[in-house]
């Protein structure tokens, strides 16, 4: 597989402040960071990496609106024409009674829709093998990774120098 042949050079840092200042140094030197891995969400990391604002929440709103509309229209159809039943002397089309179900359906559609969208975008399907650079980045290490598959020897040296200078605790190379 093509993805298997990627050669990754990565450095591990001991805390997130070191990581953040290292990323800033990398930006100043115009180094092309492949990715950054942290054991927990680090505040303020996204802007210095130049990441774009997620559009997932827009889809969340769309899914929620679809869910609300579907629940409302479905109940309207069921209780007025498909199978009208009198509940407690209320009219067939009792909007207050629909609202809890509309609410639940909004949450359901929004939550499932966003989860499925997120997994699809990230390629996380059942049976996918996790590609982890180092198990410690899920524990207490903060990692910056560079793709050095096609990099000349000089560039790799330069990157190793960068890791040493910015205080990386460990520098490794791994084929992914």
């Amino acid at each position: 597989m093509a993805a298997q042949s990627k050669k990754v050079l990565y450095g591990l840092y001991n805390d997130e402040e070191e990581l953040k200042s290292a990323i800033k140094t990398a930006n100043a030197q115009h180094l092309d960071i492949m990715d950054v891995f942290t054991p927990f969400p680090v505040h303020g990391l996204d802007p210095i990496l130049g990441l774009k604002e997620s559009r997932l929440h827009i889809m969340g709103f769309v899914y929620g609106a679809i869910g609300a509309l579907f629940a409302f229209l479905a109940m309207t159809w069921i209780f007025t024409s498909d199978w009208p039943i009198v509940f407690g002397g209320k009219p067939y089309w009792s909007v207050p009674a629909f609202i809890p179900i509309v609410f639940e359906n909004t949450v359901l559609y929004s939550a499932w829709g966003m989860t499925i969208t997120f997994y699809t975008v990230c390629g996380m399907w059942p049976g996918v093998k996790a590609k982890t650079l180092d198990n410690r980045i899920t524990d207490d290490k903060f990692c910056i990774a560079f793709d050095v598959s096609d990099a000349p020897e000089g560039d790799v040296k330069n990157l190793q120098g960068f890791f040493t200078k910015t205080g990386a605790a460990e520098v490794n190379v791994k084929m992914m």
């Binding site: 505040h43 303020g44 009674a97 809890p100």
Partner: protein
């Protein structure tokens, strides 16, 4: 970190503006007192409404702060002094609620039907014995009212005062440590159950008992959420005001974002409770509960729908996006809507009930001596059928028998509703007939004629009446007056100490607070993140 402008200065100009606001409030209170029905219902409901709302803001500011300190929250340390200052207003609240409580004892207002001096509704031998209110006698009485309003407020103020004292003393520490924080936390944590369990009692007594037959287990939650939102939106407005004056430069849009999340979240919580209360009552269709909403939906539609529009639709749709919570202009706009919206919400809770209570007081006071022969306990349905009710208003308006009958109908519509929903339904068209018969239902047009007003009020308690059906200019003036008093008090408190708790162990965390939200427009501007 070098922080400038951390000492608030209460300028003479601001003071003069606030004095002006207070003068306007007093003027409007006097105006509503002079131009009113004989029980001064408009004056007293305005007074009660604003006292409860602004005292509630102070209480919930303390609650909000106590919850955060108990949870070791760090982000809010930079705005803690604002919440502390706000909570001290409970001291004024004791006086305000004390006036209401004194009125309950000395009967200088007729807000509460259970406390009617002319007809003892809780005495089984009395002609207007009210079985339902008599059953609540152990709770709805002047002694308990005083304990629940003045007593509980004094208790909460004691806690708020201790936290404030410790927080000021914390500034004298050599270096930041947890010594004072632990003490503050002990007071905060113990405040939570005290306020949580006792605040519903105040609301039941001061607000829910205006409709003494009605009860709702959701009411305390719903109105507490309302006060909380008043408090949060007030905090937002104060933060933005102080920033515009050059203070709080270290309060960034990350802090605002977090307060905005509370504003959004509690707004949804409020709606959830509002709807829960409404839907359970609508579904159960139990007459004595349904009448509360029926009254408000039929006769106070502007209050009813405006409430939902301002307190749910506006904050929900505007604050749903991530970036609107971080913009000072948008947050100011939404906070203003929500602050006014929850003032409106309390207006909606208080006014219709007090209006009916005053109407009933008048009816009973006039009819009371006529019907003294009937000593037997009367429940609603019996009351309808006996000749007693027909006699009673015939004394008041004898021109038209139809009007007289429907008056009786409306006067006891709550009791009638207690029996069957159809009885309540019956009350409405009959009441409309009464309007036609009486000929002048619109009190708003009567202007200065207090007697004309009170007559129309007695003839038809459901017609349009400015200051009840919708807030009039006097209500707005009274609110400005109370708000000025509130701000005056708060600014005095802010001036006493630095705006920053310098030795708080969480200060550094708070100054570097980031929500981690990624907003592209902010990156273009280069604001926020460094």
């Amino acid at each position: 970190m070098n922080l400038t402008n951390t000492q608030f200065v209460f300028e003479g100009k601001t003071k003069r503006i606030l004095y002006g606001g207070m003068a306007l409030g007093v003027l409007c209170l006097v105006l509503s007192f002079l131009n009113d029905d004989e029980y001064h219902t408009r004056f007293w409901t305005n007074f009660l409404h604003n006292s409860v709302y602004f005292t509630g803001i102070a209480l919930m500011a303390m609650f909000f702060m106590a919850a955060q300190i108990t949870a070791f929250a760090g982000w809010n340390t930079v705005i803690r002094r604002i919440l502390e200052g706000t909570s001290q207003f409970m001291w004024v609240g004791i006086i305000l609620m004390g006036i209401i409580a004194a009125g309950v004892w000395l009967h200088f207002h007729h807000l509460y039907h259970w406390n009617d001096p002319n007809v003892n509704v809780t005495d089984p031998a009395a002609p207007h014995y009210d079985r339902i209110i008599a059953g609540k006698k152990g709770f709805l009485n002047p002694v308990f009212f005083t304990i629940a309003t003045v007593g509980f407020l004094a208790l909460w103020y004691f806690w708020a005062r201790n936290v404030r004292k410790l927080s000021i003393a914390q500034d004298t520490e050599e270096t930041a440590s947890f010594d004072y924080y632990k003490k503050i936390r002990r007071w905060s944590a113990s405040f939570l159950p005290i306020a949580g369990f006792l605040s519903p009692v105040l609301l039941w007594q001061a607000v829910m008992s205006l409709d003494p037959h009605w009860y709702s287990t959701m009411f305390a939650w719903y109105s507490t959420a309302s006060m909380w939102l008043g408090s949060i939106s007030f905090t937002v407005l104060i933060i933005i005001y102080l920033k515009s004056k050059g203070y709080l430069e270290y309060v960034t849009h990350d802090h605002l974002h977090d307060v905005g999340k509370y504003l959004f979240g509690i707004s949804v919580f409020w709606t959830y409770l509002w709807f829960d209360q409404f839907m359970l009552i609508w579904y159960a269709n139990n007459g004595e509960e349904t009448i509360y909403f029926k009254e408000r939906m039929n006769h106070y539609p502007v209050l009813f729908w405006g409430n939902l529009l301002m307190n749910f639709v506006a904050p929900f749709l505007i604050l749903m996006r991530n970036d609107t919570k971080r913009k000072f202009g948008t947050m100011f706009f939404v906070a203003l809507i929500v602050f006014f919206g929850h003032w409106w919400d309390f207006f909606y809770m208080i006014k219709p009930g007090a209006r009916i209570a005053a109407f009933e007081a008048k009816e009973l006071a006039e009819g009371g001596h006529e019907t003294s022969h009937s000593a037997a306990p009367i429940s609603g349905a019996q009351h309808e059928e006996t000749a007693t009710t027909a006699e009673q208003p015939a004394e008041t308006h004898s021109e038209d028998p139809a009007a007289a009958h429907s008056d009786a109908d409306t006067a006891h519509s709550e009791e009638a509703a207690a029996q069957t929903e159809s009885a309540a339904d019956h009350g409405t068209p009959a009441a409309e007939a009464a309007t036609a018969a009486a000929g002048h239902g619109d009190e708003g047009g009567h202007g200065g004629d207090a007697h004309g007003g009170s007559h129309a009020e007695a003839a038809e308690p459901n017609s349009f009446r400015l200051g009840f059906t919708v807030p009039g200019l006097e209500e707005i003036g009274v609110m400005i007056g109370f708000l000025s008093l509130f701000l005056f008090f708060l600014f005095g408190q802010l001036e006493r100490v630095s705006l920053i708790p310098w030795k708080d162990p969480f200060l550094e965390e708070s100054l570097h607070h980031e929500t981690g939200a990624l907003i592209e427009s902010e990156q273009v501007e280069g604001g926020g993140h460094h």
